[in-house]
């Protein structure tokens, strides 16, 4: 595709997963000859395995202890990953660039206080004036600051406070679709000349009983042990293993990136989200429309691992792009809901930027690549609704 000034290019990747901290750590692991074994915690939330947070030195990106204390893990992880992306793009100490930088965060909600919730429901079991009890207990037991640590738009708020990104601040919600819309919106603005540089991404903490409960309500979790994402069995639950992930990107117009001599990992050629009934091939029809014209050598799939959705997605791409290598990154780092789409884009951009093949994450179900990809599709098919696809190209 001919280059143009308002092309959307990726110049920063901030990724934290169970595999480690930062772009370079992930590159070293996925761009080698073989992918690493996934890191899985099977005891703490048994029978639900999760991909846990790695060891993180929070002060590397959130220097003030006071700031760290004002956030729960979800916000802290997001602010940390955002800082990594700013660093990676060379914006970290550029106050002017941060002050004019647009920001779109894909957010869920924050952690409940499990002890307070437990205390209230336990007491309520003995009482028949539950609403009155609720008033008493919430008034006395809720920590005032917890509200802010739970509030969806306060991840963005904390990024403004810690990293001074203040051009604009928008928070999108709606599970996987929030991440898709965040990238779609930021890219559309850059393409239209409404924005020159933007921080986009999200964070997700899998190690939370309230989140685990939400997914158990639809029997979505794989139970027991980890198994390859394309081969999870119905005898072991729903197929999803969640993972704690923070994934932020810096998107820029080509003109803005080139003017400051930034390293460009990849170009976002197209990015789009859609939704609707998935029955009777309608999901495939929408995918078909969204990948029209693409000829990818790599499909970085954000499949949840839900049996039916994973099988349908794999079948669709194998039929549509028989030459392409598929990589189900959820098998490696887990499913991260709001952060899933930007995590996938980050991983694909690493491969395109380094011009290296991506090792199979699952040797039995994913084929090796013999040469680097020039273009890659990134997919996220939401666990309940919403789909998004981005087409990335190497910056040749």
């Amino acid at each position: 595709m001919a280059k143009s000034e308002n092309d959307v290019v990726i110049t920063g990747i901030g990724l934290v997963s169970s595999l480690g901290v930062g772009r370079e750590a992930h590159e070293a692991l996925i761009l080698g000859d073989s992918a690493p074994a996934p890191i899985v915690e099977t005891e703490r939330f048994a029978p639900y395995p999760v991909h846990p947070l790695p060891v993180i030195d929070w002060s590397q990106q959130i220097p003030k202890r006071g700031d760290q204390r004002q956030m729960e893990n979800w916000q802290r992880l997001g602010v940390f990953a955002a800082g990594l992306a700013l660093d990676d793009a060379g914006f970290k100490d550029d106050a002017e660039a941060c002050a004019s930088m647009d920001m779109i965060v894909a957010a869920g909600g924050g952690e409940r206080d499990i002890n307070v919730d437990s205390m209230i429901v336990d007491e309520a079991l003995k009482r028949n004036d539950r609403e009155a009890l609720l008033n008493q207990k919430l008034t006395t037991e809720l920590r005032p600051t917890l509200f802010l640590a739970q509030l969806s738009n306060l991840l963005a708020g904390n990024i403004s406070i810690v990293h001074k990104v203040t051009g604009s601040s928008r928070t999108f919600m709606g599970e996987e679709g929030a991440g898709v819309s965040a990238v779609e919106t930021a890219a559309a603005r850059i393409r239209a000349g409404q924005s020159t540089h933007a921080l986009v991404g999200g964070a997700f903490i899998a190690e939370r009983l309230d989140i685990i409960l939400m997914v158990e309500a639809i029997k979505g979790h794989q139970t027991g042990a980890w198994s390859p994402i394309w081969a999870r069995e119905k005898d072991h639950g729903g197929g999803m293993i969640m993972g704690s992930v923070g994934a932020f990107l810096i998107l820029e117009s080509r003109a803005h990136a080139e003017a400051r001599g930034a390293r460009i990992y990849a170009t976002i050629e197209t990015v789009e989200g859609d939704r609707g009934n998935r029955a009777e091939g309608r999901l495939e029809k929408r995918l078909e429309r969204m990948v029209e014209g693409a000829k990818p050598e790599l499909v970085m799939s954000g499949t949840t691992g839900f049996h039916d959705l994973a099988a349908r997605e794999k079948a669709f791409f194998e039929a549509k792009f028989p030459e392409a290598a598929i990589r189900g990154f959820g098998g490696l780092i887990g499913h991260s809901v709001e952060a899933q789409f930007t995590a996938g884009i980050g991983l694909a951009a690493m491969a395109l930027g380094a011009a290296k093949p991506v090792a199979p994450f699952d040797k039995d179900h994913e084929k090796a690549m013999t040469k680097p990809a020039a273009t890659a599709l990134v997919t996220t098919i939401g666990h309940q609704r919403g789909e998004g696809i981005a087409l990335l190209a190497a910056n040749a």
Partner: protein, 427 residues
């Protein structure tokens, strides 16, 4: 080529061709406007849940909408559906909407009733703090897809998208108390990008519950002047002591002016400019110098391509908290200077309370109605002016005055600031 369909930067002019609104004052633009210009308050004693032991016992809840189940998600959806039906009828649109949906919706969590139900199913505690382990055991026994759906942030936009046939993946957003304005801004941007001829922008908040009230109360954000309820919200006065939490919804049908005229639609006004700027000062407090709010207002004026002198009326954020009103005044003074004294500035929140996620859109609808009718809604409860805030707040009684452009401000927790410039249809 300059023509009536392009703005000062050559972008498509964005028209409003349909509006719908619900607040504690009632359902529909007509009823709301009559109450608002009549200086009537929608604030009342809370009856939704017991208020014993609570320091705040009043709110502007919406209790007159029929719901299949009384919870925040159903209420937020029902209000959004109703205002959208009103707006589409006004716009003369039926069938699939065929444009994108931008929805400002409150972050929701499971209702306490759902937790109690799970606890009942699960049996007693084995050790302190183990409620979620028991909940999980109960879920393993019997999954509950309705519980799952009720806590998904994407569930309201999903239903609206199906009901109204919007196109693509809807955006559900939250920029706290600026959310409604942000939804409109996203719609404006999409039309200016040429991605669509029309956009559905909806903002809704039906999330008043004991826990939401207590959370704001713990931050000392709410008025505790419970008696009488209708007097509690008193923006820009010396006695203001916090906002009154409220519910509401609004829908605006945005359309390129060109497409609106081409299909013979009535144009209710123009969204001329949008501005935003994040604040990095504090999680709940604004920069003391008002810098980001000033930058936001200036950005909206610049985006609209108008000078300060074009603004004839300001629909203030005006929450009635000590801090917001002072900061907002300072920001306006800094932008408008001496002329501020002669610009009427009123706060709808004196009557409807703070509709939180919905406020920016509700107040945009009222701003457009101000332009259309030549009537400025008052700031009620303005008995004891704050001497350090020298504003013409349209005190207590509406005023007949023609205005052609209105500035509407929205500021929120998390450093969120958004302003809109709304204007009459160009002639």
């Amino acid at each position: 080529m300059s023509n009536q369909f392009r703005d000062h930067l050559g972008r498509p002019v964005v028209a409003v061709t349909g509006m719908g609104v619900i607040t504690s004052l009632g359902q529909g633009l007509e009823d709301n406007w009559a109450a608002l210009t009549g200086g009537r308050s929608g604030i009342h004693d809370i009856t939704r849940f017991p208020v014993n032991e609570l320091s705040t016992r009043i709110a502007g809840t919406v209790d007159f909408i029929d719901l299949p189940v009384a919870n925040s998600v159903e209420r937020s959806y029902a209000m959004a559906r109703e205002t959208t039906l009103e707006a589409l009828t006004q716009a003369g649109l039926s069938g699939d909407f065929n444009g994108p949906l931008f929805l400002a919706a409150p972050p929701v969590e499971p209702e306490w009733s759902a937790r109690f139900e799970l606890a009942d199913r699960a049996g007693p505690a084995q050790e302190p703090g183990d409620a979620y382990d028991r909940f999980l055991a109960a879920m393993r026994e019997r999954p509950d897809p309705a519980f799952h759906e009720a806590v998904l942030f994407g569930s309201i936009s999903e239903r609206l998208a199906d009901r109204f046939g919007t196109r693509g993946l809807p955006v559900t957003l939250s920029t706290a108390c600026a959310s409604g304005a942000t939804a409109i801004q996203l719609g404006v941007e999409a039309i200016r990008q040429g991605r669509t001829e029309r956009a559905l922008t909806v903002a809704t908040d039906g999330s008043v519950s004991a826990e939401s009230l207590i959370r704001f109360a713990l931050l000392s954000a709410l008025s505790t002047q419970n008696d009488p309820p209708e007097k509690a919200s008193k923006p820009f006065t010396k006695d203001r002591d916090g906002f009154v939490i409220a519910e509401g919804a609004a829908t605006l049908v945005l359309e390129s002016l060109e497409s609106a005229i081409a299909r013979g639609a009535k144009v209710y006004g123009i969204v001329k400019g949008c501005g935003e700027k994040a604040d990095s000062f504090h999680r709940t407090r604004s920069s003391p110098d008002g810098g980001p709010a000033i930058a936001t207002i200036r950005a909206a004026l610049e985006d609209a391509g108008v000078g300060e002198d074009a603004i004839g009326y300001i629909n203030a954020h005006g929450t009635s908290t000590p801090e917001n009103d002072k900061m907002e005044y300072g920001a306006m003074l800094s932008v408008f200077g001496e002329r501020l004294k002669s610009i009427p500035v009123s706060s709808n929140k004196s009557m409807i309370g703070h509709t939180l996620t919905a406020a920016g859109a509700v107040e945009a609808v009222f701003s457009l109605q101000t332009i259309l009718t030549g009537t400025l809604p008052p700031t009620i409860n303005y008995q004891n002016p704050d001497p350090s805030i020298e504003l013409d707040v349209v005190p207590n009684v509406k005023r007949a005055q023609q205005v052609s452009a209105v500035l509407s401000n929205s500021f929120g927790f998390g450093g969120q600031n958004a302003s809109l410039v709304l204007a009459a249809e160009p002639r």
